[in-house]
């Protein structure tokens, strides 16, 4: 006798028959009938028509029957709200039952019936149950508050359930505490502004006590809640860490990972000199490795998180390389993740092992995996210099296999190796050229063309090779077309005599027959360059390229820090902050790592630019493009792209400028200096030293040389990305984000106004408070049409510096008032000082000295700029209106 009998249907109307059975007098028959109904429900059949009959069975002392009816009710109450009311009386009665199991069951089920009318009746029983003497009932009731909040948030607040719930955090029973925390966390998620989980040292202490005694699931809730707490100093952080560490030995991997999150976060506050810091680091490795022996699904999530941890603190797992070696029957999603981590952990010490493994993987069956393995070999070569030679010979071996996709991947990575180690491995070019015909993927073709162009002088038949590509020019992808154009121009500059025809052919193909603006623009630039000044063209096109940085696919550090706070969550699996993908994330609070309070700080974190201006925090790594493919392409773009996106408006301007004589200044600017920059970023110059406020040195040039395409924009003055100045929550639905920019002498404030309220907004106006440099709007805020709900308007507000002056603290603080038909809102922001600097900062020597002397001594400030790649020492940056000058200390360079 099994339940499968419930699935068999008779020919005669099934529902009809069930109805009869449900109304039978025999208890046993009734129960069987309800079971049949449930069975139909489990496979998604609609049995809602039986609602009244099932509800009639509810009044019974048979617990099983009662539970079954409850199961049914939860599923269908919503579709039959009027009928559901019939059940209320029984619920209320059950909430008074002497048996705690029944009390809990009733309050639990009631919460699951998502019908407004019922919730009103739920309040009283719920209030009683929250204070029930039996902890089982209390803990069930705590969850019920979260359910009710989901249905009717207002009701929960009005009834004061939230406060009762907060009181439960101090309950004597750890299970109740855990459930209260879970319920509060869930409620807080939909109410980010409320400070429901207002943690203080006392409540933290209670949570830590409960942590030791509650169930594994409760531990997860408590640990996740602890992770949101900000300890007041490093001692408190350490004491929390000490009490959380035992969780690392839990059998439940979710508990382990939540504990890792807490530790990783609080560790940030500990000084690295501390003994405890080292102990903690050592304790973190084993549990992380243990996660990898679990089921593949768990492994996958663990690996995604380890990927983050390895980037943040590589020292934790540096000796554990071998556990990431791939087994042939690992699921593909595990294999790919392991490979990624292997490369991150690769170092001089273990490179031999890693290479041997990678070579093994390159002969596996799975194409995706093999491709990634081949790329990984290239990445190792770039990362660990000592291994480059072995990597190259491994790659050559792989090319000899003639397996099509292996060859193509190998060529793509060899191109990157050439970029990293110029004039070292060019002897392999001949082998590469042999495989020219087998390349059918754009990326590989583009890479090969780049190689041919770059080393045209060493390849005897370079012109023939390139010409062969040219035949099908229009069928190629943009990437290949751009590359081909550049390569042929390079070839022409190297061997002008034989290739004149070829270059004309490609230029006309690019400029006249193509619809692609990128291609056309690049074609015209070359054309113009070649026709006006071939020597300059040579200098531009054949200039030395910046070296590519060794780590190319790191997550940008601020994002990484945020993601560390989200270890164990979906965000950590996607490597995106929750705001980027969680639905209804309107008010997600951005989490950040706590600042280090220890004393060893200054040594490791370079000071932010002295002005404290926002643009000084440019990340130093190239943002990930989502996959390896993007990364490797980006390699060619050189360091400047590492900055935030530049304003697109400057594209055309920059190009015109470039053609009309601006080229000279471009060339003078320090192309030679940029290689030294490597991946160290581009921070100081843009903030403090606008000697050439034209395009940043290699931003524009990079595009010319290059290559793999992608940089379509030539940047103007540095423009920081827009940040949110006024969140919608604070301004009745008006959200303002913006940035400052300077274009050809004019300062402007670029604003993005979004209406997140439900009503139309109009009558906008803006005003500035007095500030240090007299910044003021040069024109009224131009928003003509009213702003509809969810509409966004982008405006650029011209500014001048004739407003009234008042010294602000910090100096570049700006207080702004914005008015609309709803209210007046205030916010303050910091503007980058460079927007005040004039472009033609050159002064006559005498004049400079005179002005210099005019400045009273107390106005002099000194600071050092570290790692500044530019060699220019002409940096007098003046602001004529009130003769204040910023004079960097020359000797620092």
């Amino acid at each position: 006798m099994t339940d499968s009998k419930y699935f068999t249907t008779t020919k005669k109307g099934e529902i009809f028959e069930l109805k009869a059975e449900l109304n039978s007098d025999k208890k046993e028959k009734k129960k069987e009938a309800v079971k049949k109904v449930i069975a139909s429900m489990t496979v998604g059949k609609d049995v809602s028509a039986l609602f009244p009959d099932v509800v009639n069975c509810m009044q019974t002392d048979n617990l099983e029957l009662k539970k079954l009816v409850y199961l049914y009710l939860m599923n269908y109450a919503k579709s039959q709200p009027d009928m559901a009311i019939m059940a209320v009386n029984t619920f209320v009665k059950d909430c008074e039952d002497p048996n705690p199991l029944i009390r809990a069951l009733a309050v639990r089920t009631m919460g699951c019936i998502r019908v407004d009318k019922i919730t009103e009746y739920l309040c009283e029983p719920l209030r009683k149950c929250l204070k029930d003497e039996d902890p089982y009932v209390r803990k069930t009731a705590a969850v019920c508050v979260a359910k009710l909040h989901d249905i009717n948030a207002q009701l929960v607040e009005d009834q004061g359930f939230l406060d009762t719930l907060k009181d439960l955090i101090s309950d004597s029973n750890p299970m109740v505490v855990a459930n209260a925390v879970a319920a509060l966390s869930e409620i807080a998620e939909s109410h980010p502004s409320s400070n429901l989980l207002d943690l203080n040292p006392q409540s933290i202490n209670k949570l830590l006590t409960a942590l030791n005694e509650c169930t594994e699931w409760g531990q997860i809730f408590i640990l996740d809640c602890l992770a949101n707490y900000m300890p007041k100093d490093d001692r408190e952080a350490q004491s929390i860490c000490e009490r959380v560490t035992p969780r690392l030995s839990h059998a439940n991997s979710a508990v382990v990972l939540s504990a890792v999150k807490v530790l990783m976060k609080f560790m940030e506050m500990l000084s690295k000199d501390l003994d405890y810091y080292g102990t903690l680091l050592k304790k973190l490795a084993p549990p992380l490795v243990t996660l990898l022996s679990a089921e593949p699904e768990l492994q996958y999530v663990a690996l995604r998180n380890i990927n983050l941890i390895v980037q943040k603190r590589p020292e934790i797992l540096k000796h554990e390389m071998k556990v990431f070696f791939v087994k042939y029957n690992d699921p593909i999603y595990v294999k790919l993740e392991k490979l990624d981590i292997m490369i991150r952990l690769a170092s001089q010490a273990n490179i031999a092992q890693v290479l041997a493994e990678l070579k093994e993987y390159a002969t596996e069956v799975d194409v995706d995996f093999v491709r990634k393995a081949v790329r990984a070999i290239g990445r190792c070569a770039i990362k660990v210099e000592q291994s480059a030679e072995r990597c190259v010979s491994t790659l050559l071996d792989l090319i000899q296999t003639k397996v099509n996709y292996v060859v193509q991947e190998a060529i793509v990575v060899i191109k990157d190796i050439f970029r990293k180690y110029p004039n070292k491995y060019e002897s392999v070019i001949a082998t590469l050229c042999e495989n020219l015909d087998s390349l059918d993927e754009p990326e590989a073709r583009a890479a090969m063309i780049w190689i041919v162009g770059e080393y045209a002088e060493r390849i005897d038949n370079a012109d023939e090779l390139l010409e062969s590509f040219l035949e099908g020019f229009h069928d190629e992808s943009t990437q290949v077309q751009l590359q081909l154009l550049t390569a042929i121009v390079k070839l022409f500059l190297k061997k002008p005599t034989e290739t004149q025809e070829l270059v004309q052919q490609v230029l006309s193909l690019a400029t006249q027959d193509s619809d692609n603006p990128d291609l056309r623009d690049r074609g015209y630039i070359y054309w113009r360059l070649l026709s006006t000044d071939p020597v300059a063209a040579k200098e531009v096109v054949l200039a030395e390229k910046p070296l590519i940085s060794e780590e190319t696919d790191l997550i940008e550090p601020t994002l990484l820090d945020e993601l560390i706070c989200y270890i164990g969550t979906l965000a950590s699996v996607y490597h995106k902050p929750p705001s980027a993908f969680v639905e209804g994330s309107r008010g997600i609070v951005h989490k950040s790592l706590p600042p280090r309070t220890g004393s060893s700080e200054s040594a490791e974190s370079p000071d932010a630019a002295p002005s404290g201006a926002p643009p000084s925090e440019q990340p130093a790594v190239i943002p990930t493009q989502g996959d390896l493919l993007g990364d490797l392409l980006n390699l060619d773009l050189g360091p400047p792209v590492s900055g935030p996106p530049v304003a697109t408006t400057s594209v055309q301007m920059g190009a015109v400028d470039l053609l009309g004589g601006g080229l000279d200044s471009l060339l003078r600017s320090d192309v030679g200096g940029s290689p030294a920059m490597g991946g160290t970023g581009f921070t100081a110059p843009s903030a403090v030293m606008p000697a050439n406020l034209g395009p940043p040195p290699s931003g524009g040039l990079g595009d010319l040389f290059d290559l793999a395409g992608g940089v379509g924009t030539l940047s103007g003055s540095h423009v920081a990305p827009k940040t949110v100045w006024l969140p919608a929550m604070k301004a009745k639905g008006l959200e303002i984000s913006g940035t400052f920019s300077r274009q050809v002498g004019a300062i402007s404030m670029d604003l993005l106004l979004t209406n997140k309220a439900l009503q139309v907004m109009s009558d906008f106006a803006i005003q500035f408070n007095r500030n240090s440099f007299g910044l003021a709007p040069a024109a009224p805020l131009q928003i003509h049409a009213p702003l509809a709900p969810n509409q966004t308007v982008e405006i650029s507000l011209p500014l001048n510096t004739v407003g009234s002056v008042m010294k602000m603290d910090p100096l570049n603080n700006l207080q702004v008032a914005v008015k609309n038909n709803i209210d007046v809102f205030y916010f303050s922001t910091l503007y980058p000082l460079h927007i005040l600097f004039v472009e033609d900062g050159k002064m006559e020597r005498q004049m400079f000295l005179a002005t210099w002397k005019d400045i009273p001594n107390e106005n002099e400030a000194q600071f050092q700029i570290r790692d500044c790649p530019l060699s220019a020492a002409r940096c007098a940056c003046s602001r004529p209106s009130n003769q204040k000058q910023l004079v960097p200390e020359h000797t620092a360079w």
């Binding site: 079971k35 869930e186 071998k322 087994k327």
Partner: protein
């Protein structure tokens, strides 16, 4: 939290759905099917899939996909752990976690799911507690129930649910008091072509079967506890005692449970008990190849290596294999291209060998990849790491329990590259 659960079989039928909040339409599974199609192989379906409004987190167990639907930010490990726990519970209740077993017991399954999760929060997942709430089906009980009309539902609150030791029932009584510990070690290893070890570690567990009356307080000590530096504990173990004295002190759950799991990874401690000599090669343009594999014992501490099975996933181009074995029998599945050689015991005097000809599809290019050998074996009465239980003491109860320890070493993911 966890919104809904769908159980899907290999042919893509949704045979059970359960919703803890509002009902989510079955159509959400289409995204899962899409991913499944893309993955080609069932084992390669990614465990986390995002859809426009939900996230699907799934596990694959016993030919069933457990697909859970979530809507807000939830720790995926939490969901995956929970799903595995659901599968474990089914296994525990019905003896197997299969589609038929679930369909046969659909009402109990539904009751269990309701009991395990409330509003997406785990409620009771300990098997002891669940069994008090919902009695597992037995033939006898279903007969008795249908005669007497009694139910298989516990009428009272489980005793362990709220105590500090939720894993144990209050009143436990046995006539024979017994405590058994199985120390099981699995060797995970990758051996390269030349026979040297690329990677090796031991995954050990101590599974216990404790049938003791009352509230016994046990402490288990080891001869060489220093081996255990990476350990995961059952919640019953007192962590502080372990930290300070390296003794496992605990009030055990009733019945079968996993006491600890541990990992020993330092290379010199991991002995590899077998070696393999192999020649697998394919000739260019002749659509045939050679296969010759010999397996022998080493470093087995004088114990017999038994239950040896070698599995090889041959390349796609292989049509069939003509082999002769000196010991055991072999089968070759021409569809899946899997060669299985069941050897049994290895005797050091006469090493088992399997050799012969591999026939390839005519005209197919010579396979690039070399197949890996997957080896299974068992060694009784040996914990390869050398871990030894010293003694078991019991406090809190007066009777003398019967105690026993068993050691066994097995191959885990043991692979030999060729």
């Amino acid at each position: 939290m966890i919104h809904s659960l769908f159980l899907i079989n290999c042919s893509g039928d949704i045979f059970l759905e359960k919703h803890w909040k509002s009902v989510v339409s079955q159509s959400v599974c289409d995204y899962f099917f899409e991913a499944q199609e893309k993955a080609a192989d069932v084992e390669n379906v990614p465990p986390v899939i995002s859809t426009p409004h939900h996230y699907l987190i799934s596990i694959y167990r016993e030919k069933i996909f457990f697909v859970s639907v979530i809507q807000t930010e939830v720790p995926p490990l939490f969901v995956i752990e929970f799903l595995h726990r659901v599968a474990d519970t089914f296994q525990d209740y019905f003896g197997e976690c299969s589609e038929t077993a679930i369909k046969d017991n659909v009402v109990i399954v539904y009751e269990l799911l309701e009991e395990m999760l409330d509003n997406g929060f785990p409620l009771a997942t300990e098997s002891n507690i669940l069994k008090e709430l919902i009695k597992p089906p037995t033939i006898l009980r279903s007969v008795v129930n249908s005669i007497t009309g009694s139910s298989n539902m516990g009428e009272t609150l489980p005793t362990g649910q709220l105590s500090n030791i939720p894993w144990r029932k209050a009143v436990v009584k046995y006539t024979n008091n017994e405590a058994y510990f199985d120390v099981i070690e699995e060797i995970d290893a990758i051996i390269d072509k030349s026979g040297s070890t690329v990677f090796a570690e031991i995954q050990g567990v101590i599974d216990s079967c404790i049938k003791l009356s009352g509230m016994p307080d046990l402490s288990l000590s080891f001869m060489n506890p220093r081996l255990l530096d990476d350990v995961s504990f059952h919640p019953c173990i007192r962590f502080k005692r372990w930290e300070s004295e390296r003794v496992l002190s605990f009030i055990p759950p009733d019945g079968n449970f996993r006491l600890i799991s541990y990992r020993v990874s330092s290379q010199n401690l991991v002995a590899i008990p077998v070696y393999v000599k192999h020649i697998i090669s394919f000739k260019e343009n002749s659509s045939s190849g050679r296969f010759d594999v010999t397996i022998g014992p080493k470093q087995n501490m004088g114990k017999t290596v038994e239950g040896v099975i070698v599995t090889v996933h041959m390349p796609k181009a292989v049509l069939n294999m003509n082999l002769t074995s000196t010991q055991g029998s072999y089968t070759f599945d021409p569809v899946l291209k899997v060669l299985t050689w069941d050897i049994g015991k290895i005797s050091p005097q006469k090493l088992p060998n399997l050799k012969g000809i591999v026939n390839l599809q005519s005209g197919a290019p010579k396979p690039e990849e070399n197949p890996s050998l997957n080896i299974q074996f068992k060694i009784q009465q040996l914990a390869i790491s050398g871990l030894k239980v010293n003694r078991l003491d019991m406090f809190g109860e007066k009777y003398k329990p019967f105690k026993g320890v068993k050691y066994i070493t097995k191959a885990g993911k043991f692979q030999v590259r060729t």
